[in-house]
């Protein structure tokens, strides 16, 4: 009984400690990514966290544990700021939209959340091209009658609540980047 309790307490401490470290490591990455968009206190916290370092072997064991317990991605959802930009890749055949697959609400939501999850990474042209290629191959497979598609990048930028009061509209920018043939 005593051994079991000691084991369970160790698991619990390791779990909570891992969760803390993972979240702190994620916040630390904001130093290079979104530092300018942090408020004064946010910047101070990041600067203090500079001194907070965990040895690599501890991080590795935590990552392996975190992977199997679903805590590896941290919980900083829509932080430090929710994005006011949305980038979507749109496919068209003869001006008719070819939608990404999704037969149920959940799968459609899941597949379309690729634009939110990859978000900033889609700004990188090389990576975006790989994504477009992968999506195109799938769409051609699912729609055997289609031999040609135009690919556009649609970027939406939402005004802030203050800007709305001044009459600023939602900005939508669309640019056709590729004309893809099946072969």
């Amino acid at each position: 009984m005593k051994t079991l309790k000691i084991f369970l307490i160790s698991v619990l401490l390791f779990h909570v400690f891992s969760s803390f470290i993972i979240n702190i490591q994620i916040i630390k990455t904001w130093k290079t990514s979104t530092y300018s968009s942090l408020n004064t206190y946010g910047k101070k916290i990041i600067d203090y966290l500079e001194y907070f370092n965990t040895p690599e072997f501890i991080q590795t064991s935590m990552r392996n544990y975190a992977y199997y317990t679903g805590i590896e991605r941290g919980y900083e959802y829509y932080s430090p700021n929710a994005s006011n930009k949305q980038t979507k890749i749109v496919f068209r055949n003869n001006n008719i939209s070819v939608d990404l697959p999704g037969k149920t609400f959940e799968s459609k939501f899941k597949i379309n959340s690729v634009f939110t999850i990859l978000g900033g990474q889609l700004e990188n042209e090389g990576f975006r091209n790989r994504v477009i290629q992968s999506m195109s191959v799938r769409l051609f497979t699912l729609n055997p009658n289609i031999n040609h598609m135009d690919v556009s990048i649609v970027k939406k930028e939402f005004p802030s609540l203050d800007e709305i009061q001044k009459g600023k509209p939602i900005r939508i920018e669309e640019s056709t980047v590729y004309n893809i043939n099946k072969n």
Binding site: T69, G70, I117
Partner: protein
């Protein structure tokens, strides 16, 4: 010293409240996991296949090299002569059947472990499509493994599982609040407006609020930040516990209705109910009626 150790012992291993409802908690987690996979079943190949909407080359680029994923399992099945499509179908079938076996109380612990492993492989194989809900389901399945242990140490393990879940929820909300509090647009209310606009098309109602009563967005977003930051305190305080639970459940229902994050909203409500066990819900006629069936 002894008194402190005794307190720690009671806190972690003396929580036996609603232990008779343990099976209902297992059923809730497993049934939701099953519903989740069934809700995306028609698009399994689009989401998880190595030739899916996002191919395995891109997916592997986004995750760690050593991360356990579907191609590790399907690769082994392909080696014994099965086609890739069939291999993937077999893995999904095992996943679904494992949920059914847990629900039928057939080698529960074994299938709870199988479900956890396959779920994590599914999440790793669809990194670009996996959002908060998938990770919360992972964690709920991890807790489910402990709940499924049936031994003479039942009480100790049950108490440990519930306390672990409680502490993890505190970590989840606290860091969620810390992250938001470090930015700017959660204070101005813009964050909620951007989220509503991104996840749903701007409609008459949201446009009306944004143009005429924008402070409503500000009140909502400030309350989210404050509540998340202080969740650990509010939920462990006897006076504020029920209000905090009610607030969190209502917030997740609003997330479901406004941003359409159904899976995320429901799994968070399930986790909160199992962790903090509000009488209002657990004493509903349905749960009382099913107690003896489950035990």
């Amino acid at each position: 010293m002894d008194a402190v150790l005794n307190k720690i012992n009671i806190f972690f291993f003396g929580y036996h409240k609603n232990i008779e409802k343990k099976n209902i908690f297992i059923i809730a987690i497993s049934a939701f996991g099953l519903l989740n996979i069934l809700s995306i079943l028609p698009d399994i190949y689009n989401i998880y296949s190595k030739n899916g909407v996002i191919n395995y080359g891109i997916n592997d680029f986004l995750i760690r090299n050593d991360q356990f994923r579907l191609t590790f399992i399907t690769g082994a099945l392909e080696k014994i002569g099965l086609q890739y499509e069939y291999s993937l179908a077999i893995v999904i079938a095992i996943y679904i059947c494992s949920f059914l076996f847990i629900l039928m109380n057939y080698y529960r612990l074994v299938f709870a472990i199988i479900v956890l492993i396959i779920h994590n492989a599914l999440v790793a194989s669809s990194y670009s499509f996996s959002y908060g809900a998938d990770y919360m389901i992972s964690f709920s399945l991890f807790i489910n493994v402990f709940l499924c242990i049936d031994s003479k140490y039942n009480k100790i393990i049950y108490s440990f599982a519930i306390r672990l879940l409680q502490l993890q929820l505190c970590v989840i909300y606290f860091f969620s609040g810390v992250g938001k509090a470090m930015g700017n647009n959660w204070y101005t209310g813009d964050a909620i407006w951007y989220l509503v606009s991104t996840y749903t098309n701007v409609n008459i109602l949201t446009a009306f609020i944004a143009t005429t009563i924008p402070f409503l967005f500000q009140i909502i977003s400030l309350s989210v930040v404050i509540f998340e930051l202080f969740y650990p305190v509010l939920i462990y305080n006897k006076i504020t516990k029920n209000v905090a639970l009610l607030y969190i459940i209502i917030t997740h229902i609003i997330i479901i209705l406004v941003i359409n994050l159904y899976t995320f909203g429901v799994v968070m409500i399930i986790l909160n109910v199992i962790a903090f066990q509000p009488k209002l819900i657990l004493e509903l006629k349905y749960f009382k009626r099913n107690e003896y069936i489950a035990e």
